[in-house]
């Protein structure tokens, strides 16, 4: 399985990564190697095997419904790129 330039551009768009045209051929080559590696899995017979998400077979532990957090906006927003009146600012969101 190989990825075309169109595939790579689509993936980059989904992942919100700007790709320069100059990067694409190198990536395509590296992906050929990576896909060669992971395509080894296709040959494995896994009929009847359940997928495993976590090695340890555990269940969710739940929290009680208690408010434990206080307002720390000033602290959290001290590391924000752009804020005004307590809001995070971004280029206009169009709906």
């Amino acid at each position: 399985m190989a990825l075309t330039d169109t595939d790579l551009r689509r993936l980059a768009r989904l992942a919100r990564l700007r790709l320069e045209e100059s990067e694409i051929s190198g990536l395509r080559e590296q992906f050929a190697g990576i896909l060669g590696l992971i395509d080894q899995l296709q040959a494995v017979d896994t009929r009847g095997i359940e997928p495993l998400s976590h090695a340890l077979d555990l269940e969710a532990r739940l929290r009680e419904d208690v408010v434990t957090e206080t307002d720390q906006r000033a602290r959290f927003q001290s590391v924000a790129p752009q804020v005004e009146e307590g809001l995070y600012l971004v280029p206009k969101v169009i709906e």
């Binding site: 993936l11 768009r13 700007r18 990536l27 992971i38 899995l41 976590h54 090695a55 590391v79």
Partner: protein, 488 residues
């Protein structure tokens, strides 16, 4: 005090007995860092004022007689652990300006124990790498040979401990990121059972595989640090609630009758001859200590690399979506609309390896490919776990090389990602199975570079693993060897 030849336990006694103050000890380490780290690049951030004020607080605590085993000990932290008021970069340009507003659970635990933050260590960007060449802050050099890589992703922690710039360092291991650099730098490193160390505040790479651990010169030191680092945390849903355990309790007990499983697959080619020789010699030491060899098989272990390079990038592609330039971290200086802001921010903020893994993960999760890659990888993951279950029915600990080669040169594997990925062939399956694993120095291979022996245990058998490692270290002195630069 000769910091190059003093173990963490000895430092702790010296502090306890007031033969040295925490301030003096810390100053000595800071002096070493100032003098030697320019060649190594093991640290991203050192903040002597902050560290020394913590040392003074520790000294006061010792004076009050309230000291615990780690009180006053400076510990270096991989820059993946959020530390309040400290730059926490994860080795990335994306977080190159991120001063964490909160502490990771692990950092809280060390603070409560009275340990100090000595600095934040360099690492592969977002823990993605096996050579520490992907860090935005430059590569870390291997203290044994500055032309060689220290391994990764916890290369800074391993190099710092190897050069004795820190008595111990925290690290994380998703596919071998503690054990492989520990092996390449000639130090000891442990990755506990998944869930023992809280992941809260440990910046996520692949959530179902990430686990915090320790790098230190010896197994005994690992146990001492682990005693503080392990612990249940309600803020991590995958944290395991178990009674506290003293990981040093079994140290010194004899190894007679210990059943050592030797997986056929780890000893059938693919290992460079110098590494194979050192591992054989290490196993002979265990023979002499009365352990028994058992041949076991991990038939699916060859598939662990492809499974890992589906699952880890898949989780990473999602975990790294939060870096969007909106609430913290890097934002592109120039952009047009919202999508352009996202795309430029992320293209600038992430390095090439991180982007490759995000794209790989996006691909294996995308419509039409999910079943063939992601679900299939999860199924094979179960086969790998089953292999270990069967092996541990027949042995107490599995041994083999931690890395197929000794440290390689800079740039040797960067052009071919797959070659780089294969350097974790012996460590990755342990993460997929969630098992504890450690690496200890076991002599030297080609060009006088260290070789690491990997010990893999069953779930929650950290105490036994450390006992096995300690027994070996009582019979050998590889773990006391330090590179020339560290003696300076």
């Amino acid at each position: 005090m000769d910091l190059a030849n003093t173990s963490l336990r000895q430092l702790a006694s010296a502090l306890h007995e007031r033969r040295i103050s925490s301030r003096e000890l810390t100053q000595a380490y800071l002096e070493r860092i100032g003098r030697l780290d320019g060649q190594l690049g093991a640290f991203i951030t050192v903040d002597p004022d902050k560290t020394l004020s913590q040392a003074d607080a520790a000294d006061a605590r010792i004076a009050r007689g309230e000291a615990g085993p780690l009180t006053g000990i400076p510990i270096a932290h991989k820059d993946i652990f959020c530390t309040e008021g400290w730059l926490t970069t994860c080795g990335s340009r994306m977080l190159s300006n991120f001063v964490s507003p909160y502490d990771a659970h692990v950092i809280e635990k060390f603070a409560a124990a009275g340990a100090l933050i000595l600095g934040k260590t360099n690492m592969d960007e977002f823990a993605m790498g096996s050579s520490n060449e992907t860090s935005h802050f430059g590569p870390v050099k291997n203290p044994w040979n500055l032309a060689k890589v220290p391994g990764g992703s916890s290369g800074g922690s391993a190099a710092a401990v190897a050069a004795r710039l820190a008595p111990a360092a925290t690290a994380t291991d998703t596919g071998g990121s503690i054990r492989q650099p520990a092996a390449l730098c000639g130090v000891s490193g442990i990755k506990p059972t998944y869930g023992l160390v809280s992941r809260y505040g440990m910046i996520a790479y692949a959530s179902s595989l990430d686990q915090g651990g320790v790098i230190a010169p010896s197994a005994e030191d690992l146990g001492l640090v682990l005693n503080t680092m392990v612990g249940f945390d309600t803020r991590d849903s995958t944290s395991i609630d178990r009674p506290a355990e003293d990981y040093t309790a079994a140290l010194g007990q004899p190894l007679k009758g210990l059943r050592i499983g030797l997986p056929r697959e780890y000893f059938s080619g693919g290992v460079s001859p110098d590494v194979a020789r050192a591992i054989d010699a290490a196993l002979e030491v265990y023979d002499r200590l009365g352990a028994e060899r058992v041949e076991v098989s991990l038939p699916h272990s060859q598939l662990s690399v492809p499974v890992y390079y589906v699952l880890a990038p898949a989780e990473a592609s999602s975990n790294l979506s939060r870096y969007d330039g909106v609430r913290y971290g890097h934002r592109a200086a120039q952009y047009g609309d919202l999508n352009d802001m996202y795309e430029r921010t992320r293209a600038e903020g992430f390095g090439a390896e991180v982007k490759r893994r995000i794209l790989t993960g996006t691909y294996v999760l995308s419509r039409g490919y999910y079943d063939a890659y992601y679900l299939q990888a999860q199924r094979v993951r179960r086969l790998i776990v089953n292999d270990f279950r069967e092996a541990f029915a027949r042995c107490d600990v599995i041994m083999g090389p931690a890395s197929p080669t000794v440290a390689f040169g800079f740039g040797e594997k960067t052009s071919d990602p797959v070659q780089m990925y294969l350097s974790d062939i012996f460590t990755i399956s342990v993460n997929l199975a969630g098992l504890p694993g450690l690496s200890i120095p076991a002599g030297f291979g080609a060009s006088g570079l260290p070789v690491g022996l990997q010990l893999i245990g069953n779930y929650f058998s950290e105490g036994r693993l450390l006992q096995a490692a300690h027994g070996y270290q009582q019979a050998t002195d590889w773990h006391r060897q330090v590179p020339d630069m560290a003696r300076a």
